[in-house]
């Protein structure tokens, strides 16, 4: 039961609900609007005559006899072969998450268990690397990759994304492993385990919550990257985001903007599902570094 002093005056309540409502509209409405509009023809979604056409679908009805049409999706997925980019994205994301978690777990564990001074410098170096925009490194990749003939293929991009991911992964797993009591693996070592055996049999079974949270952020980094994938992948190996950017170049002239709209909605859907299922992990991951200060 709230005390009298804590009870809100009506005016404040209205203000709070009004503000929350406004933010809700700002945050959610653009996504629903674009989802709704992706089932319309371009003249409705980008209506010159009347903006309500985007809701009622006047022109869509005139063209397809129905207020909704999947024409944009057909154009993007079948005609422009967007499914190839989708497959590429998921291959890149899968291998980036797998590799960066494997090597990041080992590294983060070692950093959390070694008390020597160099661990501090390694973490500071990682922080500096984390601060650098990835695009500044791309100029350094191009010449060697052309020289060795590995430019444009998925494995190269995967390795580069793993490396760019490492500083963040290390910081996150480092702070996570520090919360696992040292006594656990110390006692295993007393029982005769090597460090690796202690890690394998004692730490691995209890590390999954932290690893899953870190994995989510690795996934997001690989999924959302534009600068590196656009520069390092050839046209046939493009992932979704650079493919959408490439759509824009051609579609504004050909009048196929709706293909890009459909592709954008298709690329947002997995993220939507991800937030739905992993909301708690994402929130805890975002705050993990912060709350401990």
């Amino acid at each position: 039961m709230a005390s009298k002093a804590q009870r809100r005056p009506l005016g404040l309540s209205i203000l709070i609900y009004g503000f929350v409502g406004l933010w809700f509209i700002l945050a959610a409405f653009p996504f629903f609007w674009t989802l709704w509009g992706s089932f319309k023809v371009e003249l409705d979604f980008f209506s010159i005559a009347n903006w309500t056409n985007a809701i009622t679908g006047e022109r869509t009805k005139a063209t397809y006899d129905s207020a909704f049409t999947g024409a944009a999706y057909h154009g993007a997925w079948v005609q422009e072969e967007f499914w190839r980019n989708v497959i590429n994205t998921f291959m890149v994301c899968f291998f980036v998450v797998l590799t960066s978690l494997t090597i990041g777990t080992l590294g983060g564990y070692a950093l959390s268990r070694s008390g020597y001074r160099y661990t501090f410098w390694l973490l500071i170096t990682a922080l500096i690397f984390r601060a650098m925009p990835p695009i500044t490194l791309v100029a350094g990749y191009l010449l060697p990759f052309f020289e060795w003939n590995v430019w444009g293929i998925l494995p190269t991009t995967i390795i580069v994304l793993v490396a760019i991911n490492q500083p963040f992964t290390l910081w996150m797993l480092h702070s996570f492993f520090q919360n696992i009591p040292k006594e656990l693996d110390e006692s295993a070592k007393v029982d005769g385990c090597t460090q690796f055996q202690a890690f394998r049999h004692v730490i691995v079974p209890v590390m999954w919550p932290g690893v899953i949270t870190t994995g989510l952020f690795s996934f997001l980094l690989a999924y959302n990257d534009f600068a590196v994938t656009a520069m390092l992948l050839s046209e046939s190996n493009r992932t979704m985001v650079p493919a959408i950017a490439a759509f824009l170049g051609t579609t504004y002239t050909e009048g196929n903007v709706m293909f890009a709209v459909a592709a954008v909605v298709s690329a947002t859907a997995p993220l939507f599902i991800l937030v739905m299922f992993f909301q708690r992990q994402i929130v805890s991951g975002l705050t993990a570094g912060a709350v401990k200060g």
Partner: protein, 341 residues
């Protein structure tokens, strides 16, 4: 942990970072002091009887190829690339300084130079978006924290969307809405009462549009962090403030905000780094005519038919220096803390 064991545990990740972050930095710095070879020219004299002799200058393809293969990096030019018009533009800067009548004239000329134009936008974006998103994030956190339990979860879910969504995709979604034929764009046309009104036409409005996008994209991060901080707020402090007769505003100012201060520093640090690399919105909003950023210049130089590696490398090095300056207060503080231990 023994040094040896540490080494083997750290080797894979260390190697990845060394090969694909540390070495590329070296490579970028090297490339920035080499320019591509100029084509080797040769002059041939053609003499035709009765007509006379003409001299013709052509590119000696073979010699050009030879020298390019012998020295693939190009010719050493020192700091020339840094000082040219596309980068620090020392000569143009000096001339503008000498001949400009007024400050306004000087600034106009400065903003015609690509690097300074990009730097102006990047810094404006960074230093407006970062404080704004902290304020907006704090307001959302305070408002959501006072909601009913069931509403909180829903609000957190929808608030995460602008942050989680791919930056390029998020900026495209907003860009289509503010297009003069989109829903917000046509509303603005109605408000302005001018059928030709467009956010894309003016530099000032383009900057505002990008800054609003930046806040929309990053405020959720601040919100989530502050919201988590509010859950750890000690109740007795608030109660003590209430007993002392503090108004709500005073409670927030003297109890809540000081409690969240370490988190504000954390959010500000992360967001300074992330906003300084602003790039995707410039592409997504198709805004490069009015607003360019340092990252965009690098991307632009690297893309296209002629990959201008030297120019891009020089801009990259300047960007890294910029990041280092932004980061230096943090590094100095961390180092002091470390020495103090």
């Amino acid at each position: 942990m023994k040094h040896r064991t540490f080494f083997w545990f750290f080797l894979p990740t260390g190697l990845a970072m060394f090969l694909f972050i540390a070495l590329p930095i070296v490579s970028v710095v090297t490339q920035s002091v080499f320019a591509p070879h100029e084509a080797v020219l040769k002059t041939v004299e053609n003499c035709t009887p009765l007509v006379g002799c003409t001299t013709e200058t052509t590119i000696d393809q073979e010699a050009t190829r030879e020298i390019r293969e012998a020295q693939p990096l190009g010719r050493f030019v020192g700091l020339d690339i840094y000082l040219d018009r596309g980068h620090l533009a020392i000569a143009e800067l000096g001339e503008a300084w000498d001949t400009a009548e007024t400050w306004g004239d000087f600034w106009d000329r400065l903003f015609n130079l690509p690097l300074y134009r990009a730097l102006a936008f990047t810094l404006t974006f960074t230093f407006i978006v970062t404080p704004m998103l902290i304020v907006v994030g704090l307001m959302i956190a305070l408002a959501v924290n006072s909601l009913h339990r069931h509403l909180k979860g829903l609000m957190i879910f929808f608030s995460l969307l602008p942050m989680i969504v791919t930056p390029l995709i998020g900026s495209l979604i907003l860009f289509w809405m503010v297009d003069s034929r989109g829903i917000i764009g046509s509303a603005l046309v109605g408000l302005a009462g001018d059928p030709n009104f467009s956010l894309k036409a003016s530099t000032g409005l383009t900057w505002v549009m990008l800054i609003v996008y930046g806040i929309w994209h990053s405020a959720p991060f601040a919100f989530v962090v502050f919201y988590a901080g509010l859950q750890t707020l000690p109740k007795d402090q608030i109660e003590a403030a209430q007993i002392d007769g503090a108004t709500r505003w005073q409670q927030i100012k003297y109890v809540v905000v000081p409690h969240l201060m370490p988190l504000v520093t954390f959010v500000a640090l992360i967001q300074l780094m992330d906003n300084f690399r602003v790039f995707e919105p410039v592409v997504g909003f198709n805004a490069s005519a009015h607003a360019t950023s340092l990252s965009w210049i690098i991307f632009n130089d690297l893309g296209g038919e002629t990959r201008q590696l030297s120019a891009a490398s020089a801009t990259s090095v300047l960007t890294i220096i910029g990041v280092a300056i932004l980061l230096s207060p943090v590094l100095v503080r961390t180092w002091r803390d470390f020495k103090g231990k």
